[in-house]
Subunit: 221 residues, 2 copies
DNA sequence: TAGATTGTTAATCGATTAACAATC
DNA sequence: TAGATTGTTAATCGATTAACAATC
């Protein structure tokens, strides 16, 4: 049902990085940048930069380069659309939820945090990132009233499993998922961005140990 | 200088996921699993599962499948080596550092948190995840004495820029990087695992807005 | 033996990189 | 005009998927 993107996921994932570098350039007062200079800064190739920008239509000037202002405006438009913020709820007000809440309400990210939910009675009624913490029991009426589109899951795996059916039923279309539950296996129709911190740390470990082994092998030769 | 891996990065990044699913299977008492069943659970293909496992040598049984125990043991060995923990420091004891500290000391991840560093005088001397918070000024003598191998960066971009030279000089070989500073551009020799939360959230926004637009286009047709 | 499932090679697909014509 | 740099097509590279022989 949902239309396939013309833009590939790797390109989409690079957009925020372009956005950051262009912001830096703009704040430094640079008005023009070439694909090759930008590529060098970012540790990629000029080819990739041009290829990426051309997914959305050429906003460069042949022979000259790209105007930082124009590029930044175009990429901002891609990332944040018309400026309408995505109504969002956060589930889980623990340490991770606390850290993550400030990212959601950051004004550069395009989201509007409506409320936080938790089961811990001690937390309910308090504030987090400027919004109240509700009991999880209030989820259904709250969603019916406020129609959040995005849910941020900072709960353990089992809670995510228990909650996901209801969240999808209540109209959640996108998940920023910190739980170790693979939502997209069961709900292929929702958009999921996984941040599996434990996984990321483990694979770093593999790469470091592999490197150490290689070093030792080299030394003993 | 550092030896190139025989195993590609996409495969390495999938290892923790296999590890998780196999742990679940083991705890459920399953003793055998076929590539096709595992693939179905994980939302991938049997081909990929077999291809991945064969990067490390075939530990399946033709005609039968894979023994969960064997597979789990092999993947654990890959991820955690001989069981030696990687000595690690955390820099930045703010909200994000607080959340992240518990992941580092989690006994399944293969790391040993030695200390936390911060510049906030109010925090110095306190404990976090069972280790003391030091002043950033103590970084050099501490590293000389304790030889940490991994640094976790939970500091703003500018602090990361300021610190990175010293950290690399002091012998840090791997970074779990939450700052928006692209360490691998300047230090290609270190192993970096980036977790750019803001970026991840922004690209989710792009995908959601793209989807909404597609829906609206479909509705108006 | 027959059925099942791996290990491994071959085919496909997609993303990155290179090349170059267009043009400022 | 000459030099520079984009936009875009073509070539390469690597990862995923499919196919099938090996074998339990």
């Amino acid at each position: 049902m949902s239309a396939q993107s013309k833009v590939s996921l790797p390109v989409i994932k690079r957009l925020p990085k372009y956005y950051r570098y262009l912001n830096t350039l703009a704040s430094e007062g640079r008005d023009k940048i070439s694909s090759s200079e930008l590529a060098k800064m970012m540790g990629t190739t000029a080819s990739q930069v041009r290829q990426d920008f051309n997914c959305f239509g050429g906003f460069g000037q042949q022979g000259i380069g790209y105007k930082v202002e124009v590029l930044l405006a175009e990429i901002s438009k891609l990332l944040f659309g018309t400026g309408e913020l995505l109504p969002t709820i956060l589930i889980g007000a623990g340490r991770l939820g606390t850290a993550v809440s400030s990212f959601i309400s950051r004004d550069t990210n395009g989201y509007r945090l409506l409320a936080v939910f938790d089961i811990n009675p001690e937390l309910i009624g308090r504030q987090m990132a400027g919004v109240p913490i509700h009991a999880l029991d209030d989820l259904e009426p709250f969603c019916a009233a406020h129609k959040p589109v995005v849910a941020v899951l900072c709960v353990p795996r089992q809670s995510a499993i228990d909650l996901s059916d209801e969240l999808v039923r209540l109209g959640i279309q996108g998940f920023w998922n910190f739980s170790h539950y693979d939502l997209s296996v069961k709900y292929p129709e929702v958009t999921v961005e996984n941040v599996h911190l434990g996984d990321s740390l483990m694979s770093l470990g593999y790469r470091l140990r592999e490197r150490t082994e290689a070093d030792e092998a080299a030394r003993s030769r």
